[in-house]
Structure formats: C-alpha cells, structure tokens
Amino acid sequence: MSKVIFSSWAGKVVDNRGLHPDEYASVEDLGFPLQYNGHRVRAFMSWNGLVVADDKVDTVDMAHTYLKEVQKLSCGECSVGYLGIKIMLDILARVAKGKGGDGDIELLHWLGAGIKENAKCDFCPSAVTPVLDTLNYYKEEYIKPIAGRKRRAKSTYMTRVTAPCMEACPAHQDVPGYIELIRNRRYKEALELIRKTNCLPQLTGRACVAFCEGNCTRNEIDSPLAIRALKRFAAEYGTEGSSESSLKKVRGKPKVAIIGAGPAGLAASYNLALMGYKVTIFDELSARGGMALVGIPAYRLPKDILEREVDVIRQLGVEIKLNTKLGRDITLERLFSEGFKAIFIATGAHLGREFDIENWREGYTGLIDGVKFLRDVNLGKKLEAKERVIIIGGGNVAIDCARTCLRLGFKDVTIVYRRSRVEMPGREEEVEAAEKEGVRIHFLATPVRVLTEGDKVIGAECIRMELGEADASGRRRPIPVKGSEFVLPANMIISAIGEAPDLSFFAGKPIETTEQGTIKVAPLSYQTSRLEIFSGGDCVTGPATIIEAIAAGNRAARSVDQYLTSGKIVLSEEDTKGRLTHDISLSRQRGGGVIAKSLRQSPEQLPPSDRVLSFDEVEKCLTAEAAVREAERCLRCYRVMLLAVAREG
C-alpha cells in the first residue's frame, strides 16, 4: 500500500489528501495487503485505525458497516458498550442516508469517548477507535450527508474477525468465545465450540504448548489467561450430564484411509467422519494416540484420558486398526485397490536423531534414544532403574525423559545441555517442574565420548561450551572450550537431541519427499505429489506441536473432501484470511481504558516430593469457581477487520 492516501493506523497519521499522487509522502510499510483474495483493497478499517487507498471510498458508509459487524460481537455484559454501539449505529444509519441532524456529530463524539474510556472489556473500545477517526479526519463526509447531499456509490466489503490468541493458534480456535461461555457457566456449549476446531480438548487442555497464552493481551498488564487450563476445564465439565455421541453421524461418502492414529490423523478422521466419509485409521503401534500417547508421560497425560477422547471419534464410525504398519502389513497400492479413494499420511516423527559420538553406536548396554525410551515406558515395558542417568538435550523430550527417570526410581538424574537456560527449547514450566522434582541440569556442556567398562556404560566424557555468534536458528552457537573436558559417571545415557520422521515405508518413492527427510506437500492444501494422497503433522513439518498437527488434520480433511467432490482443491477465503493478519500486530490498541490487574488462577498441583513417587497426574483440573474467575479476566480482544474492495485487479 505505497499509495496510501490517509492512514491513522496505530495513531500515526499520514494525510496525503489534496496532494498530487507524485507528491504523496512516503508511507512506512504498514503490512497491509494491496490485494486480498484477488480484489484490490480500497480501504481498511479495524481496531487501531483507518487506512484509505482510494479517495472515492465512502468513509461514513464504511464506519456504519464496520459497526454493524462489531455489534454482532458486542456481548451485552456492559451497558455502555452494548447500548452505546447500538445507538451509534442508529445515528450512523441516519447520517449515511442523508437524514442526520446537527447534533449528531456531537452525540457520536460523546458516545465514542464514553465507550472507549468506560466499557468493561477491550472489545467495544477497539470497535469505536476507527469510527472516531472518521469523525475526526473525515468530518466533511458527515456534514455533506447531514446537509442532504448525494452520497457516493457503496463499496463492496469483506470482513474478518480474529483475536491475538486466535491468531497465535495454528488451529485458530475461538478462544474468547469458549472462555465467555465458561464465564457464563455454559460449559457444554464451551466444549462444543472447542470441538469445532479441536477434536482433542482433553489432550490439548493438558499438553498443548499454548501459543495463545504467549500472545494474550494480559501479558502486557499482569499475566496471560490460563487458556490451556480453561480448555481442560471445559473438556471435563462440558461432558457432565450429556452423552458425547450427540454428534451428528452422516454417512454415504467414499472410504478414506488414514495412516497414523496421532493428533493429525485423529483430527482428519474426526472432520472427515463428520462430513460423512467412511474412515479407517491404520497404526503400527499397539495403542491409539500416536506421539501423544507414546511421547507424553502419564504424569502429564493419564493414559485413559486419551483413550476416552479417541472413543468419541470412534463413536462417529471411525475404525482404528492397530498393529498395522504401512510398508509391512499394508501398502498404499493395496489400500487403493481395496476401494479407499484418498489416503492421509500422518505417521509422525518417531525416529530419534542419530547421536554421533565415540562409542555411541558400538552396542553397549545403557545407551538409548529419548523417543524410544519414552515409547517403551508409555507402552508399559518394564525398565530397571539405575543409579545414575544422563540425558542429553534441552527440549521437551529431554525433560520428559528426565522426569520419567525420577519416577522410575533413578537416583541421580542429570540433563546435559550445550547451551544456556535462555536458549533451552523445552517449555519453561516443564523445566522448572523438573528442577523442583530433583533433576539437575548441566548447562553449557556436551558429551564427546561414551565411557565403557566391558559391555556396559560407566559414564560420559563431556566438554564445556561457550556461546558464540547467533546461528541460523537465532540462538547463540555453542563452541567447545579447549581443555575443559570432565567426566560424568552414569549407568545409562539417553540421547534426546531431536526426532525425525521414519519414511522407510516409502520403498520406491511413491511420493516426493524433501531434503530434510520429510514428506513434501503443497502449502495450505496438504496434497502430496500424488494427488489422492495427502499428508500432515510431524511427518511433514518435522517434530512440532500437537496443535499444529491438529490444524493440519483439520485442513487436510477439507482438502480431501474438496478433491473427492470436485477433483480440485480451492483455497477458500478461510485459508487466505490468515495472511491478511499475518503482518499486522494485534497487540494492545491505542488509548483504551484502564484495566485492573487480577491474579491468574492456577490449577492445584501435586507437591514435588509426592510427584516423583508415581506417575500420577501432576496438575489437577481448575475448580469451577477458579475457572469462572479466570474466565472473568479475559479482555475479549476480538478484532473486527473490514476491507473495502474493488473487483478489478
């Protein structure tokens, strides 16, 4: 939008009106699209101002249309916001029709200021900001219609609603929506709303990384909403007194095969089943849940929880065949010949990355990779506790391994990580919990050689590291310090330095893969080089998060449906909408009211000394009282965006 005629975005006013286009003052790149879904953007109005690129746009009509969209989300929990917007709309409607009165501009100013300063949450104030901008900077547009002059031709509009939390979530869940339902004690409806974009609320309510919380507006005020805990609350309280099978069953569409019963595969199967497809999931493991099952220890996710969650999906008619491995028990070709019309591959990243130090691959007892270790424990394999264990790595797998070792009875559990605490990729709260439970973390060190005696491991020779320049990941690169070698005794060493997809089932390369050893798909549609095969989750992205896998499963299900229905995949407005807000900061609006600080409600936790005695779940569910109190902290930062567009390119 280099040719911006006017902008009040974020309070920075750029006014080029009356100048020849050649004389337009330069406008910083505001991150607004010139094109949106094939349309030329003429003007943009949202919570932080007004941007005009075409001086023929009717700003009064735009303000009126914008406020109409805003009203749909105005909750009614405070009279100033709800009634104020209602009356502003009445006034704008008559002004836009040329029937306004002399006092109308004054009334609009009074209403706007009152809403901005005295509404209860963050939503209605944000809603009036751009309207006040039109009053302040396009006053003549108001006076003309009030004086009864002819109005301009109306624009074509497009709207989009988002919120900082929704935008941060890969699955774009309506977070303020379900929090509001919890606040109003409508737990069942809250759960139903969550399920629309996330079919695994029990799982994500416990083990999601919660990007939403990182982007919560309250970060700038006190502390973010406990969104993950609220989701778990809705998942637990929303099913009370109702049967989960109330979901509508539709039948009559073709057979679709899904490889992998993890989050991506489950999300795809859930959506496809709801659309009427006959879905069969094949999984090589002996239990359902994929990486969520074998990668997450029971103290974070009790095993029966996942089983119950998968049951809801099975009730939709989804069949799950376990102990069935692609490439061993089934092949892609055989699935097609058995009548499956499309296949979604979601096999995860279950292969521990090779650790390349002296003696690692020589077959000594006591060396294991982290994912395999967790898988063994989670599938119930008996493991003998040792005296001392070293875990190498700083991610969540390393932390999970360490906390699991404590619970298995290992006496001395040490994590060795080559960078410092700030660079540690593991979730901060997990790292803290591990330390509280007794895990030691050795920062700025890495093993260089496994020390052995006979066929057994007796320790690791390590070297100290220091941090150099930032590398491609943006983190400072660890550099070994010469002559700083030291020995850590150990009976077992777990390597948790990363995971990769196991694509060994792809004999003969039926579909294209990437140099990184992942499956290649078309962006947004998840379609592979073979059009009737789709893929998503960790096997496409490399090790990522549960919610990214769910988002991929959701979208891939739509792709499968589109492909099987029409033979081609159309990127909908829903897909491209995301790009609109990608570059625009959704952080706090300018000049809102004062927001009182309030204490974040935390779920009860087992005391660290009790935790290590068993695999019992560490974190409890929020109580109803705490959940409602927490939900009351939500500032409801919905952001409505209105674009005036022209059809030509």
Binding site: G76, K120, D174, G177, L181, A596
Partner: protein
C-alpha cells in the same frame, strides 16, 4: 502488599495482618484496608458514588458502569469502575471530575433510554439533573445488570439464571438472560433483587408465577397441613431439605403453625 508476620510464642501459627493502604479520594486522604475497593473506601468517608448493579452481598459485576471514577497513578490517568478497582497506595481518585461526569452521564442515559419508566433509573437520573435521555431505544425492562444472575448463583446457590452473550457465528440476535426451568426453584430472590421490575412474582391460589424476560415459569405451592395456607414453592422446600439435610416432613407446616 500483605506481609506474613510470625505467630505468637504459644500458638506458633502464622497470622495474616491486613495492611492499611493510604490513598486520596477527591483530595481527602483515606486509609483503607488492603483488598477493599475504591467504592468501599469512598463510602467510608461519605463520598457518594452512584451504583446500580452493585450489591454488598454479591461479587461486583461492573456491568452498569455508573460507579466510574478517574484514577491517577504513576503519572497516567484513566477511568475505571469503583466497584471492581482495588485500593492501592498513592492512588489518586476523582469521583466527580468533568471526565467522570461526562462518562457517567452517558452510562446512565443509555440505561434510561433502554427503560425510561423505571423508578430506580428515574430516581438516579434525577439526582444527576437529567430529565430525559438524549437517545431513544426500543423499551426493554431488563437492562442486563446481572444482579439476578449473581444472586441466584451466590446467594441461592442454584445458578438457574445465566447470561447469553453474542459471539462469532453464534446466532443470537440480542444478549439476554436465560432461566432454566429445570434448575429454578421458584424462590423469587431474582424478583426481589431486580432493580427494574423485569422479573416479577405472583402467587395465585396454589401456584407461584414467576415472570422473567425469558418467559413465565409456574411452581406448585405447598399447603400448610395445619392452617391450609399455600405458603412456599414445593421445589424450593425440597431444595432446602436436601441442602440442609432435614427430615422430609420438616416443612409440612408453615412458619406460623410450627411450634
């Protein structure tokens, strides 16, 4: 900030001492208990701040916005509701600045526009020198103050009244309250607390009729086994018997006929 002081020698337990917080309201210095609100502190020194959705026995809701005040702290000022804002040391509060008066006037005029015939609202606006609202709205008795919602939850303990709010793709024309006929025990606390008579109650013969914005609900009344008077909804009495673990015949007689 609260401090934890060591307990006395004999008890050994720790005692939490409420600290006092010093702030200024309308240029008067006030010492208020930590954890109390600006509204509490102002009323202690006799400063009147209008309220509508506030009730001392209920959690503040902040929905009517009438108790708006201006606060100045750390060099910035802003408006906030006195019923929800906790006192803080050094806080400067203005309950009647021009900014406050303008904002409060808007809040009350909006409510009056919603329900121009409410005695309570007329009384409030008269005090503020307002005859009639600057706007017109379709008249509606329920002004969504949520007093009934909070009373039913917090005092009665039933939670039969809930709020329906708007949201993305939620097909709701207007926000409103919803009364669950299953949960409601017909106790009439909501009608008692309602400031605008949007909820009313009437006993006709053996039936109690509760009229709410969400519709009419009927409850069978219990007959006193001695005097024969219909005196309370059976559902309410059953609720009390269950909650207080009383004998099933505890309410066979009305209060007048009990020994």
């Amino acid at each position: 900030m609260s401090k934890v002081l060591p307990g006395n020698a004999t008890g050994g337990s720790q005692r939490r001492v409420k600290l006092m917080v010093r702030l200024t309201i309308d240029n008067q210095i006030v010492d208020a208990e930590e954890g109390s609100t600006i509204l509490d502190a102002a009323s202690k020194i006799g400063i009147y701040i209008p309220t509508l959705c506030y009730h001392e026995s209920l959690t503040p809701g902040g929905s009517c916005r009438l108790c708006v005040v201006e606060i100045i702290a750390n060099g910035t000022s802003g408006l906030i509701t006195a019923c929800t804002c906790l006192v803080e040391t050094g806080l400067e509060v203005r309950t009647n600045s021009e900014r406050v008066v303008k904002s409060r006037r808007l809040a009350v005029e909006l409510l009056l526009a919603q329900h121009p015939h409410s005695d309570r609202l007329q009384e409030l606006t008269k005090k503020m020198g307002i005859d009639k609202p600057s706007f017109t709205l379709k008249e509606q008795e329920c002004i969504l103050c949520e007093l009934c919602v909070r009373t039913c939850r917090e005092i009665v303990g039933v939670g039969a009244i809930n709020f329906i709010a708007q949201g993305i793709d939620r097909d709701i024309n207007e926000p409103s309250i919803e009364v669950s006929p299953v949960k409601c025990i017909g106790c009439d606390s909501c009608a008692y607390i309602c400031p605008t008579n949007a909820i009313t109650v009437e006993d006709v013969g053996d039936t109690r009729i509760l009229t709410t914005p969400d519709g009419k609900l009927e409850f069978k009344l219990k007959k006193c086994s001695t005097c024969g008077k219909y005196w309370a909804p059976e559902k309410q009495l059953d609720y009390i018997i269950k909650k207080a673990d009383l004998a099933s015949d505890a309410f066979d007689n009305c209060p007048n006929c009990r020994d």
